[in-house]
Subunit: 405 residues, 2 copies
């Protein structure tokens, strides 16, 4: 089995000022082509510490990807560490490879690379990457800037690994689904028979609040893509409308497709979600085609004056009630002249709860050409913003299920 | 110097499905009390791999914090690895420490700990942590659930480290500021004299889009807290109103304080920011006190009908223009009966740009009791959501500066 390790260098990483997001991304890309990382490391910008790490990795692994420390500031010590622990001289980019992408004149230090290394062009930045072999382990050195690093991995590094380690890669087939409306144990129950029916396929759950990402993955050898597709169709049938997307789209993206398909438009009257549903729906490019208007009506006065919620409704039921949610949605649908309108009114917390309407209570209204419906949901995570996220997803989900018919 | 290493275990981490956010958090906590991590590691849920790592760390470090793998599923292999590489038996929690927080009856596997280890109570979960010494290195094992882990670090682990390593900690004094409205090089220029005036204090920048976090830190030994405060006051004077907060509050939190202070309220007419400003302002608990209404008016029709933007304004200048932004803000201020109203209209991208109004153009309006003003800003990151974030921050910043007088 191919032994792979990944490392990131940087004082801001080792001090905990930022989390290393490069290494998980690299690990995922490698896994897709069939190489599993066994270790991920972080060290600071110290040539000695990095040198120790490189020697250690060289004694264990066949392949290593290292990000960071290739810039032109004194903090950037990767070149020095590589030179020290490989005994190679640093030479100019041009000397190493006449086809290199960087001119030594414009970026003198960045253009240095260890002699006899292979250059990896950096189309989005100035510091090139390079790879070389130490003690039989292939080391790939890449800049730490995520945008540059990702482009280089996709363009140069993955093809190189595919080429050099072809017979030792075990590509994994993967399918992902985005689920909302069932708990993890609810999903497990419905999919109870899966392991017996598809023993070579691994079923994975990942709670990406407030959704659940479900993955089906299998080694390419014993499992065919057709078999994986069959297992996916089986899962889709078992989970029904709880599958928001069988292709990794988000809830607002799916709503966008459905609204375009059916030629409808959506407007919003938000209270406790405070603009979050608007934000999510307008986060999709082109959403202006089906999204004319939304309002956040926090006060009773604006609920009445702008949306036409009845004084008697508010007096009889209060702001957090199905009836109020329905009138908010109806009022917004009239105001925006949209096909559909969604509303939310509830208590996101931390304050504002009462015994019969505790924090975490939300009423959702949906006005449609055929009439108006509403739901009351209760869920409290103890965190205002998480509650708002959950309420928003519930509201969008109500419309999604409606659009599915 | 105290040598510290941190490790996280988990298949989801080594596969790159999620990033390890525990280790950076721990690194930061340790740094505050005066211990700097030199390595951060990630391994999968394999007892052998973890055992190798533990032995390796024991040979190098004085202190190690390990998260994950303490649960009750077969994936959770930390106990096995510790038993293997320490040669210690696993005993029940009760046997190890009668004051332990978990009853072996309710959580049999989770209640196992290595013999002669010190239990660390887990007030928010079922799996207790523990610590023990291997080859002279103090290992602290903690659950991977962030909420549980953080509570335990704060309650038990930091006091324990302070106690055991008192004479080897080098506590760091830190102050943080949240800056908006200057580039990194603009800040550097204004603070050019800082290193000469305060040579023992380190000035750090961290770009937390769209803000810049500025930190002042110094070893406690040569620098007094008073000296650090003096350097902070100097920085505050140099950066003036560009300092959003001298105490790590966010822009909407600062707006909240300023609005309460001055007894004013704010309403919003958003177009290209799509509800993001509402979302951010209502993300602050208690914001309903000063936030009556906002609307997202994507279409020209709703800009005219709801906000009263003139047909002639739209015809003459188009939707993206200072004049349109001003009329949107004025219309919303009337509608909401608020003290202030902010508006945004622009092109977040990726489509919709024109030669004279390219993607990244935004016009911001601010209506106040004293009149209306507007700004045009251009900034394009190539990413729709990042552009929206930047536009939102610019709009809130315009109000913030106004409220500061």
């Amino acid at each position: 089995m191919l032994k792979v390790e990944i490392a990131a260098t940087g004082n801001e990483l080792i001090k905990g000022q930022i989390a290393d997001a490069n290494s998980p991304w690299i690990a995922e890309q490698l896994r897709i082509i069939g190489a599993n990382a066994s270790r991920i490391h972080t060290v600071g910008d110290e040539a000695d510490a990095l040198g120790d790490l490189l020697r250690e990795i060289a004694s264990r692994a066949h392949l290593a990807l290292i990000t960071g420390g290739l810039g032109s500031t004194p903090d950037d010590v990767t070149l020095r560490a590589v030179a020290d622990c490989s005994g190679r001289r640093l030479v100019s980019n041009g000397e190493a490879n006449r086809s290199g992408s960087v001119s030594p004149r414009t970026a003198p230090k960045q253009a240095l690379v260890p002699e006899k290394s292979t250059l990896l062009p950096n189309p989005l930045g100035t510091a090139p990457g390079f790879c070389l072999s130490l003690n039989g382990c292939l080391f790939v050195f890449l800049p730490g800037v995520p945008r540059e690093m990702k482009q280089m991995v996709t363009d140069s590094v993955l093809p190189l690994i595919r080429d050099q380690f072809a017979d030792r890669l075990r590509p994994v087939l993967t399918q992902r689904l985005n689920v909302f409306g069932l708990t993890e144990s609810g999903i497990s129950q419905r999919l109870e028979e899966f392991p017996r029916l598809y023993p070579t396929i691994e079923l994975g759950f990942r709670f990406v609040f407030p959704r659940i990402h479900l993955s089906l993955s299998a080694d390419q050898a014993p499992t065919s893509p057709e078999e994986l597709d069959r297992s996916k169709r089986w899962v889709l049938k078992k989970l029904g409308k709880n599958v928001v997307s069988a292709a990794e789209e988000t809830m607002p993206e799916v709503l966008g497709y459905l609204l375009r398909e059916n030629g409808g438009s959506i407007s919003l009257a938000e209270s406790c979600t405070g603009g979050l549903i608007s934000r999510r729906i307008t986060g999709v490019a082109g959403s202006s085609d089906y999204f004319p208007l939304s309002a956040v009506t926090y006060s009773n006065r604006t609920k009445k004056e702008l949306l036409g919620v009845g004084e008697s409704t508010l007096q009889q039921h209060g702001a957090v009630h199905e009836k109020t949610a329905e009138e908010m949605a109806e009022g917004m649908r009239r105001l925006a002249e949209s096909t559909y309108a969604l509303s939310t009114t509830g208590i996101a917390g931390p304050g504002g709860g009462t015994p019969d309407k505790p924090v975490g209570t939300v009423c959702i209204g949906l006005a449609t050409p055929e009439g108006t419906e509403s739901r009351r949901v209760h869920w409290d995570s103890g965190d205002r913003r998480a509650n708002q996220s959950f309420f928003a997803e519930c509201a969008m989900d109500l419309l999604r299920r409606r659009l599915l018919g």
